[in-house]
């Protein structure tokens, strides 16, 4: 019942990239990518190292202006959207986010409210409640007074997720959020991302964990050498043929799009002794 209510309250938001091209040293590291993403999707962005995943994420988040093409968020061009307005619509988590000073976890999470805050003054009372709720959501309430620099990798990842979600953005872009997490924390994190999508947000995450991608994402976008080679619902898109084409390894995909899916890589038989 509650979920149904939430679904009706959420307005549909979308990101559209049109012919996005990013050049570095004359080479296109993102090459003519056109894609349209909606709320309620959990999009796994996969591809080999150097395929341009991080660059594409930065462009979609509005942190990097492409040389050619355009990105629209909810029908408005990123080039004209105000920084603070954009910051309230989407949250971005870079690879391996870290805290530079030993501030408390509570204050770290409160930094996520920066675009909502006035120029001076402390945190308003209503925002304190959102900080507490965000900490509760990622099970970090008992760590709220701990210095952020003393957290373990998994705890810091959760604190950073709370930081990203505390302002209740409609979209979350996370660059390799599962890297460096042990199996239990990786499962928890990816499950949390899926629940956000189910609750009506648009979640985009680049990842190398193909089994987790096969189990939890709703959609898969595949980059190779800067080009978008495939995009679609996980069950139909994530196939052995695609992985062979993109990663140059023989792969065995079973049950993509279900919670028991497995992606396994098969050694090249010619290399067997």
């Amino acid at each position: 019942m509650a979920g149904h209510q939430a679904a009706q309250d959420v307005t549909v938001s979308r990101i559209e990239a049109n012919g996005v091209t990013v050049l570095r040293g004359g080479r296109a590291i993102v090459d003519d990518v056109t894609i349209e993403l909606h709320s309620r999707q959990f999009v796994g962005l996969i591809g080999p190292n150097g395929a341009g995943k991080s660059t594409l994420m930065s462009v979609l988040a509005g942190l990097l202006a492409p040389e050619r093409g355009s990105v629209m968020i909810d029908g408005q061009s990123l080039a004209t959207l105000d920084r603070r307005a954009l910051a309230q619509i989407r949250a971005f988590l870079p690879q391996n986010p870290r805290a530079e000073w030993p501030i408390s976890v509570e204050r770290l999470v409160a930094l996520g409210l920066t675009p909502q805050l006035p120029v001076f003054g402390g945190l308003p009372e209503t925002m304190r409640a959102s900080v507490a709720a965000a900490l509760e959501m990622v099970d970090m309430a008992e760590h709220r007074h701990q210095p952020a620099t003393t957290l373990s990798g998994g705890e810091l990842g959760r604190a950073m997720l709370a930081r990203a979600l505390v302002g209740d953005p409609a979209m979350l872009l996370a660059d390799e959020p599962l890297t460096g997490l042990d199996p239990r924390h990786a499962l928890d994190s990816v499950d949390r991302l899926r629940k956000l999508a189910d609750a009506g947000k648009l979640v985009i995450a680049s990842m190398h964990e193909l089994t987790l991608a096969a189990r939890y994402t709703t959609h898969i976008a595949v980059l190779r050498e800067g080009c978008l080679v495939a995009f679609g619902p996980t069950a139909q898109t994530l196939t052995s043929a695609l992985l062979h084409q993109v990663f140059d390894v023989d792969a065995c995909v079973t049950g993509a799009g279900t919670r028991t899916a497995i992606v396994d890589f098969v050694p090249d038989p010619t290399l067997q002794p």
């Binding site: 942190l63 988590l93 000073w101 204050r107 996520g112 001076f120």
Partner: protein, 329 residues
Amino acid sequence: MVGKVALRALACALLLTCILLSLGTGRIWLEPAVLIGSIFEPKPSLAWLILSELRVPRTILGLLVGASLGLSGAVLQGLLRNPLAEPGLLGVSAGAALGAVIAIYFGLSAAFALATPILGIGGALVAAALTLSIGRGGTLTMILAGAAVSGLMGAGVSLALNFAPNPSAAYEITIWLLGTLENRDWHQLVLAAPFILAGWVCLVLTMRDVDALTLGETQAESLGVNLARTRLLALAGTALSVGAATAVTGSIGFIGLMAPHLVRPFAGHQPGRMLLPSALFGAILLLLADVATRIIPTAGQEVRLGVLTSIVGTPFFLWLVTRLRRMSP
């Protein structure tokens, strides 16, 4: 909450004590009763003359200079996310020194007393413009540009010393470089104050940005922080406030480095919350050091303020470096 209020009250009481000490101490010691009497019943007595012509401008200047150093030190440490950053890093102090030295070298200061601070402020602004135009690419580029500009301005000062027309000019330049609040009057204060206050406004406007930079540059940008604007505000604010301060007093080291470190634990390590306490402690430290220069018995001249802050500051700096080394893995 009680602890926070008590800390604030303590800091304010400390500042007030320093102000009273600074007004009272000197070659002629003024009793607190005389001080208060002169403030509330101004009559042209000797005590009143000493206060209005010497001690009050000196104390106000000390407050402004110390607060500028502390504030810009805190902003720069937050911006660069480096506890070793300080106002001298961006070449601003060296630029101010070069401007002032040029005024002394060409005898302008002998002809017109305010030539030294005016050229000093000019030098600080030129140095800041140079740093900004070379180092507009990013934070690291800005530090490197600051180091280069600092070196260039320092070379200019050395050149002036090298070709000093006579030993007394070289002596005058050297003594000026050592930094002091001695014999500063209302004219110099009135000249520097508008620049210093304008600089403070720029620096304080970076408060939210340096907070967000705790998360690193990428996340800060994703939170709507315009990093180019933040860098510009920090640099312009430092150039205006520290530049004008150095132009009037000469170089005073270590206050900008020390003040943020003293307040950091009490502000929960959050860069934005450190700005005002750091300004307050910069003022306290500078007033204390200035009072000390007047108390320390010497045969002839007073101990120069810049010399004293460096002597006291160096052990602190070394302690800081070793402590940081122990803390990091």
